[in-house]
């Protein structure tokens, strides 16, 4: 019941502007809302992914406003009626509950307030009485002494009382006197109303009080129902607690692959951790357990169109081509003749645990369960057009076509075809050769620089 009065108090003190909220006339300032959700950041390498720490059933003003609406509906009330009831009860600025220490402060403040008012040499308690009462003194009479009691029996009282004694005697003797009294009395209209305390208040004031009381009762019932709904919802909210959620949250960045820049890598994270231990009911602190899945996809059109640059960084083949290019007199021109197709995807799954402390610090541990990478590179062809001057007499040259492919994290160069020629004054040789051999030229692990070997952290955004 006390809760209701607390809400009523605030209700009477804080009236928000109309239309500000759905529950604008229902004061909720004493309801301790949760934040409902807080932004989180998952960091790995140089990348950040945004996620959220949120209550499964948030205890925010929006939810409570919804409960207010439901309660209004169930009570067949409108905002306007609440407003009108507020106005009726506004006169009763009900006090909130607080401690004895608070009361001690009030007492001192009262005394301070009163001491600012010149009240002569009266004591502090009496000055409080004088300060807060409208008619605390008996100025017109003096004191409530025995003399006062004697003086109250004035002459007309004595005379009338004496008359009463005599009248009783007369009534007993004379029936006519009885009849006279009776007829006089029964002529008084609405005799019963004589009993009502005429000192009290005008009828309008009584009506105001009654209206206020009715409004108070109506609000009591409303807030009682609302309180029940809030308690029930809060209980559910507390029971289900908080969750860390990353729902297909993404981050992307350019990266260089075999020396070719401006490829684009996208990481998407699904991670859900549920609150398992709740040191404080309703709070986000505690231990969270869950699973995660992070997926990396790649846009490789630059690598594909500039495969002739990439091949220079591909193991021994690249080294040989570079050497040829660097040899004086040689002319080597590389071009990508087929861009082919590239598909690289990596998916890492596992379990994770987080602990959120009171100061907001989050400790995250991730345990990898599986790590699978799918690579499919095919159809990329690079042509090398070269000429070699061996002497002033001979020169030779040709075209060599390299096919670049991969079905795992290992680039393979193979299927080489070459069209070579030797020219001299005496020789004009040309021959086309082809081979089915392959050369493994490794993998550019820089593609995984953000994930492999880096620290993964979880933190509140902005902290």
């Amino acid at each position: 019941m006390k809760k209701l009065w607390v809400i009523l108090l605030i209700l009477t003190m804080v009236l928000q502007p109309q239309n500000a909220y759905a529950a604008s006339y229902v004061d909720l300032s004493r309801v301790k809302f949760s934040s409902g959700s807080e932004p989180l950041v998952f960091t790995f390498g140089d990348l950040n992914i945004d996620g959220v720490l949120m209550q499964i059933y948030p205890f925010t003003e929006d939810e409570i406003n919804q409960l207010v609406q439901e309660t209004l509906k169930s009570k067949n009330l409108t905002q306007l009626e609440i407003k009108e009831a507020n106005e009726k009860v506004l006169k009763a600025k009900r006090a909130s509950e607080f401690t004895k220490e608070d009361l001690e402060r009030v007492k001192q403040n009262m005394l301070t307030t009163i001491s600012a008012v010149p009240v002569g040499n009266v004591s502090t308690v009496l000055s409080a009485v004088t300060g807060y009462m409208g008619s605390s003194s008996w100025d017109d009479i003096g004191t409530a002494s025995a003399t006062l009691l004697e003086n109250t029996t004035k002459d007309w009282v004595k005379d009338t009382a004496g008359g009463f004694v005599n009248k009783a005697g007369e009534l007993g003797k004379n029936l006519n006197t009885v009849n006279a009294v009776t007829s006089q009395l029964l002529a008084i209209e609405k005799f019963c109303e004589m009993m009502v305390d005429e000192h009290a208040r005008t009828k309008q004031k009584w009506k105001d009080i009654a209206d206020g009381a009715n409004a108070k009762r109506m609000l009591n019932e409303f807030y009682f129902a609302l309180q029940n709904k809030i308690d029930s919802y809060k209980s559910k909210s507390d029971r289900f607690g908080w969750q860390i959620q990353f729902n297909d949250e993404r981050v992307g960045s350019n990266f260089t692959f075999f020396g070719v820049d401006t490829n684009y890598q996208t990481w998407s994270l699904d991670m859900i951790l549920s609150q398992e231990e709740k040191p404080e009911i309703g709070a986000a602190t505690g231990t969270y357990l869950g699973v995660y899945s992070i997926r990396s996809r790649h846009e490789m059109s630059n690598f594909q169109s500039r495969a002739h640059e990439a091949i220079l960084n591909m193991g021994e083949v690249g080294a040989a081509i570079k050497k040829m290019k660097e040899t004086p007199g040689n002319t080597v021109n590389l071009s990508t003749v087929s861009t082919g197709s590239v598909y690289i995807e990596r998916v890492i799954n596992g379990y994770c645990q987080a602990t959120i402390k009171e100061d907001g610090e989050i400790t995250l541990t991730m345990e990898e369960e599986s790590d699978q990478t799918v690579v499919n590179i095919s159809g990329i062809e690079v042509e090398m057009d070269y000429s070699v001057i061996d002497s002033k007499i001979f020169n030779s040259g040709g075209k060599i076509r390299f096919q670049i492919s991969a079905d795992k994290e290992e680039i393979v160069i193979g299927g080489i075809t070459a069209d070579i020629f030797v020219k001299s004054p005496d020789v004009n040789f040309s021959h086309e050769i082809s081979g089915s051999g392959t050369v493994n030229v490794g993998w550019d692990k820089g593609i995984w620089k953000h994930w492999d070997g880096t620290k993964k952290t979880l933190s509140h955004r902005g902290r």
Partner: protein
């Protein structure tokens, strides 16, 4: 046979005539009924306050009705005893209130306990004692010298009439005490107790004599509140004394209830403001 029929007819006429006489109530008894109706309306008012959750005001109305009705009924018990009814006064009173002080203490605002006590003295021929009681009733402005003197007719009622009135009163008493069962007041009876202003002055005198006698001052303020639960000053007195006594809940109770019936009261508003400020810290 004819004689028998004649006898029956005569009996019927007699019975009819007698019942007709019995049904015609003397006019002066209407006065008593009017008062009983008036007291009953206070009981109804108490019910209304209870319904509205205004318990202090409900107690005031019930107390007013109880003090008035019980004093009238006790007066009738005394008159009946004086007319030779019952083995003893206690026998006539039974379990009902049978002490003027206790009856009056239910609400000192009612002037009727003094009046009916005086009427009993009057009937006993103790005119000086009767006069003192009438004086004390007359001091109370709620006593109407012009109208209430008509109640003196109680003294001329026959025993059967008195019994008839008593029946009505006890029925009403039962209704009231069914919903109103206050602790017995220990506040001493005085003819000035109808005045909350007087009682507040007693509180002030108590504090003047001993600044720290909050408990006794509170007793006076509570008595003032009982006889006028519509005056903000009475709530202020109770709230202030409870502050000094460290009674937090009571302080809030009096401030809240006081503002409800006297919302414009400056002192109560000032206290509420202070309380609310402190509560907000």
């Amino acid at each position: 046979m004819r004689k028998m029929i004649s006898a029956i007819l005569i009996c019927l006429i007699i019975v009819t005539a007698l019942s007709g006489c019995k049904g015609k109530q003397a006019d002066y008894l209407k006065i008593i009924d009017a008062y009983i109706d008036g007291f009953s309306s206070l009981y109804d008012q108490g019910n209304e306050y209870t319904e509205l959750g205004l318990q202090l005001q409900a107690d005031y109305s019930y107390g007013w009705a109880a003090a008035s009705i019980s004093s009238m009924r006790y007066c009738i018990d005394c008159l009946l005893y004086l007319e030779g009814e019952g083995d003893s006064l206690e026998d006539l009173v039974g379990e009902r209130p049978g002490n003027w002080d206790e009856i009056a203490a239910q609400n000192y605002a009612s002037p009727y306990p003094y009046f009916f006590e005086g009427l009993v003295y009057n009937s006993q021929g103790k005119n000086e004692d009767a006069k003192k009681c009438y004086e004390k009733a007359l001091v109370n402005p709620k006593f109407s010298a012009e109208n209430d003197k008509s109640l003196l007719i109680l003294d001329i009622l026959s025993a059967s009439e008195l019994k008839s009135v008593k029946t009505k009163l006890t029925m009403l008493e039962d209704k009231i005490y069914e919903v109103y069962n206050p602790d017995k007041s220990t506040y001493p009876r005085s003819h000035m107790n109808y005045s909350d202003k007087y009682l507040r002055t007693l509180a002030k005198e108590t504090l003047t004599a001993n600044e720290y006698d909050y408990r006794e001052a509170l007793r006076h303020y509570e008595a003032a509140l009982a006889v006028n639960p519509f005056e903000g000053d009475n709530f202020v007195g109770c709230a202030l004394m409870n502050i000094y006594l460290g009674e937090v809940d009571q302080t809030f109770f009096y401030v809240n209830e006081g503002l409800f019936v006297d919302p414009e009261h400056e002192g109560l508003n000032k206290i509420a403001e202070l309380l609310n400020q402190e509560g907000g810290q």
